[in-house]
Amino acid sequence: MIVDSYRFLPRSFRPFYEGKGSFPGEETPVWAPFEKRLQASRIALLSSAGLYLKASQRSFDLVREQDNPEWGDPSWRSIPAGVAAADIAVAHLHINDEDVLADPEIAMPAHLLDQLAAEGVIGSATADHLSVMGYQDRSLQAWREQTLPDLVAKLRDQQADGLILAPV
């Protein structure tokens, strides 16, 4: 079964995504071999749903995006794996956030990953997962220059053996 990548996309948006090819300079394969057994590996999650902690973190900046529609907040948030759904907020202007708020696991399945660790399917999950807001300036310059080094440092610091990214 082959997934239809455009099934849920308004038809007029399709040309913005289809047939665009790779970003300039990003044609060549990149490959980091996964060398351990899953049972001995530590796994991290990254969501682009704009998740943040209601009580202690700032929202992604949606006000500036309203003023400048081509801009998206390039910052990131660290989300503790054990956080309760009720403590998570969503800052993303491009999706209906009701389902993610009702069950953040559909964007960042942190509790399920912990359960798989408890069952021995994986070795462990990282203590913190990563949250970004996926709507970005087309150049992705801010992500690359400011956010990426932080994300990589955080993953290394937590000794993550692999990362599951889920754009929304």
Partner: protein
């Protein structure tokens, strides 16, 4: 692109995406495709069995893919009629860029 850059930094990645054809074009290293509405990469809210199938497939592709560009699509049909699901995922208010595009089209 984050997947490529993080992979290039030495950390293996897999991307779970509603648009696997686009992830292939953008040259992501490992891809899991799901035919779900936007905002729902791991499936239906509250449906632990569906979420588990997605996560387990992502883990097996992450750990087991033997070559760059590996793509595996998950054979689960979204359990909501297309017309309803198509409407449901979209924001109640159009995003700023969509508003801007619509305004541009309106002036044309």
């Amino acid at each position: 692109m984050l997947a490529r850059w993080i992979e290039a930094a030495g950390i293996p990645t897999v991307i779970v995406t509603m648009m696997p054809a686009v992830a292939e074009e953008r040259r992501a290293p490992r891809i899991v495709g799901v035919e779900f509405p936007f905002g729902h990469p791991f499936g239906m809210p509250g449906d632990k069995a569906m979420q588990r199938r997605v996560l387990e497939l992502a883990l097996s592709v992450l750990a087991g893919a033997s070559a760059f560009g590996t793509r595996v699509d998950l054979d689960i049909e979204w359990p909501v009629p297309l017309r309803d699901a198509y409407k449901a995922w979209q924001p109640k208010e159009a995003s700023p860029i969509v508003k801007k595009l619509l305004a541009t089209l309106g002036r044309a």
